[in-house]
């Protein structure tokens, strides 16, 4: 499903991703753990196509297609979704307006008909109810004045509406209290399916108590330095990243 091969990427002329290789199959939830500064968030931006993140080598394939030449919106239309660590506030744009624009832009890019207003409303309501997102929140400008938990809930709501083939969750647990973490995790778990893959980026193991990964990868200094099962996350929690930081050096 998602294949990253010998990826090299730089930000401001400094190489951050240094030959990273990773494969996530359909239906798989892969976790990437690593110390601060290991390049985890950079990886998420490179894969989703943020400007200023320059790919200097390697490829990223989504369902066999190299997406590195695509603009971020085309990558999204191909089924990639990035749940942001820090979701942006968009003053003046009602959440509903933004959601409709995103859903219809993706449909248009795929040659599908735009959603009718009643269909759109019906789908938003259904998903919002499940995530405990109030209608009042949907009328407010996107993420403006939302709490950390509300913002992350909104990310999951968008992911549920856009139904991506592959989701990248960048530090989704940051800024969440335990209740919000549970709601958000349940939202993500509900989207797990044999056809969909996830890459869960996290610094702490606690998110993985709620979103149980199939595989765990340790990232350090721009590469994957160890791959294992869920038990690897527990080991990291116990021993920290020190072993791997030195291994990569």
């Amino acid at each position: 499903m998602l294949e990253i091969r010998d990826l090299h990427a730089s930000v401001g002329g400094k190489e951050i991703i240094k030959g990273l290789t990773l494969s996530v199959k359909a239906g798989e939830v892969a976790a990437i753990m690593g110390p601060n500064g290991s390049g985890k968030s950079t990886l998420s931006y490179v894969v989703s196509g943020r400007a200023g993140y320059e790919v200097t080598g390697g490829e990223v394939l989504l369902n066999g297609e190299n997406i590195l030449e695509l603009s971020p919106d085309m990558r999204a239309a191909h089924g990639l979704f990035l749940a942001f660590q820090y979701p942006l506030e968009i003053p003046g744009v009602a959440t509903m307006t933004f959601l409709k624009a995103a859903m219809n832009a993706q449909r248009k890019a795929r040659g599908e008909a735009e959603l009718s207003m009643p269909d759109f409303l019906k789908r938003v309501r259904a998903v919002a109810d499940k995530l405990g997102v109030k209608q009042e929140m949907l009328r407010r400008p996107l993420n403006v004045g939302f709490s950390g938990g509300e913002k992350k809930r909104m990310e999951v709501l968008q992911m549920a509406l856009l139904e991506p083939k592959f989701g990248i969750l960048d530090e989704t647990d940051s800024g969440l209290d335990i209740d919000a973490l549970r709601v958000v995790s349940e939202g993500v778990n509900a989207l797990r399916s044999p056809a969909r893959g996830f890459l869960v980026i996290t610094h702490y193991q606690r998110l993985l108590d709620h979103i149980k990964p199939d595989t765990v990868h340790v990232m350090s200094k721009g590469r994957i330095v160890k791959t294992g099962g869920p038990e690897l996350a527990l080991e990291l929690e116990k021993n920290g990243y020190r072993d791997y930081v030195e291994e990569a050096a």
Binding site: D73, L88, I90, A101
Partner: protein
């Protein structure tokens, strides 16, 4: 060379008012005498530092002639059915056949009023903007306009159109007076047919009586790229009166909107807002002076300017609080968004406070579209061009949100949307 700021105490103001011209002839003569002494403003005049009117006025264009039947018909075709009173000015001339009074509204043309020497004080604008060359030129050459008195509750439409393929100049001066406790909604539409580089100089005077409320909306559009336009708005406010004004300006050439307001009565509420859209080589200047001349008044100014291509935006805002205007509450904000590297914006907010118990603040920003916000929208599948338009619309929309009338608000939003859709890639 900078002119000193004129602020007057009560005695000075009374003396000036006593001397105020009683008729149009005096007014014209006094204005021309000042103009002759000072000439067109250059960048050396502080209030005109960012807009070189002298450089922009390349010729003394002939005064516009009265519209013929075909021109009147062309303008008529652009007008919706009037909801209340309406005054239509075409090429500087009041057009009676397109104008109408309404309930609780007394409407006469400036031409009629000048002939009878009535309303001199109102036409003179209470000395507001008395320092300004564009206001003086307007007084010296005023051709026609509408004088409106409101006693009850009224809807008023003011239309000012410049037409013709040959460049000419027009000078209009209108005034609306609200009696004590009166209410009015004034919708002003300014546009051009034909795209010529006219010189347009308009003055509008609002005299808002005690306890009266005036809601003003003005849209300016379609002027030719070689046009030079000044709009001067003079506002005098009585006790516990209210004034809410919104301007959407998306027009060609060089334009300057200048607002001179004096809050003379206790507890007045003044709000001036607007959205300015500039592209090509357009130059748009919003300059305002709001004088708090009584206790416990509130003023709000909020402007959003969007500058594309090589265009230039200017915002100069000055809040003056006289020593007796205690408990003043003022807040002024100007935010500009530059869409390209060649675009420019000058922001100059100023406070001049002589009272000690006031709350006044201002903020001015100039920014570009936020890359992080754009990426966020793109990561959701929204193409960059659409994401840009969405963010710009939202930026302007926060000003448009202040328009109380829903139909107008939606129309302005649609027009801003179209303006953005017409941007070059």
């Amino acid at each position: 060379m900078t002119a000193p700021t004129r602020t007057h105490n009560a005695v000075e103001a009374a003396l000036i008012a006593l001397f105020a011209p009683r008729n149009a002839r005096d007014l014209r003569a006094a204005a021309m005498a000042r103009f002759a002494a000072r000439g067109l403003p250059t960048r050396r005049v502080e209030q005109w530092h960012y807009t070189d009117l002298r450089g922009a006025m390349r010729a003394a264009l002939p005064l516009a002639v009265a519209p013929d039947a075909a021109t009147i018909a062309a303008v008529k075709a652009r007008l919706q059915k009037a909801q209340g009173a309406r005054a239509v000015l075409i090429d500087g001339h009041y057009v009676a056949e397109l104008s109408q009074g309404g309930e609780g509204v007394r409407l006469v043309s400036l031409g009629q009023a000048l002939a009878s020497d009535a309303s001199g004080e109102l036409i003179a604008g209470f000395g507001l903007g008395g320092d300004d060359a564009a206001v003086d030129l307007n007084a010296a050459f005023m051709q026609d306009g509408a004088l409106i008195e409101v006693a009850g509750d009224a809807d008023i439409e003011l239309v000012d159109v410049a037409t013709g393929a040959v460049a000419q100049s027009s000078y209009t001066r209108s005034a609306v007076r609200l009696a004590k406790g009166a209410r009015a909604r004034v919708v002003e539409t300014r546009f051009a047919l034909g795209g010529a580089g006219h010189q347009r100089n308009a003055a509008l005077i609002f005299d808002i009586g005690d306890l009266a409320a005036l809601d003003h909306v003005v849209e300016t559009r379609d002027d030719g790229e070689a046009s030079v336009q000044t709009q001067s708005l003079m506002v005098r406010m009585g006790r516990a009166s209210r004034f809410e004004s919104f301007a959407l300006t998306m027009t060609g050439g060089l334009w300057r909107r200048q607002i001179f307001a004096r809050l003379d009565g206790e507890g007045a509420h003044f709000a001036l807002r607007g959205a300015n859209l500039l592209h090509g080589r357009q130059h748009g200047d919003t300059t305002l002076v709001v004088e708090h001349n009584a206790r416990e008044c509130e003023s709000r100014e909020f402007f959003r300017t969007i500058v594309d291509d090589e265009a230039t935006g200017v915002f100069q805002g000055k809040i003056v609080v006289q020593s007796h205007a205690q408990k003043t509450d003022g807040a002024m904000k100007s935010n500009a968004l530059l869409l390209r590297d060649g675009a420019g914006m000058f922001n100059k907010p100023e406070l001049e406070i002589f009272a000690d118990d006031v709350s006044c603040g201002h903020g001015a920003t100039v920014a570009q579209l936020d890359d992080a916000q754009l990426f966020y929208a793109q990561a959701r599948g929204i193409p960059r061009r659409i994401a840009e338009a969405m963010l710009v619309e939202a930026f302007a929309g926060e000003a448009v949100d202040y328009v109380g009338d829903e139909a107008l608000r939606e129309r302005f939003r649609a027009e801003i949307h179209d303006w953005l859709a017409g941007r070059d890639a």
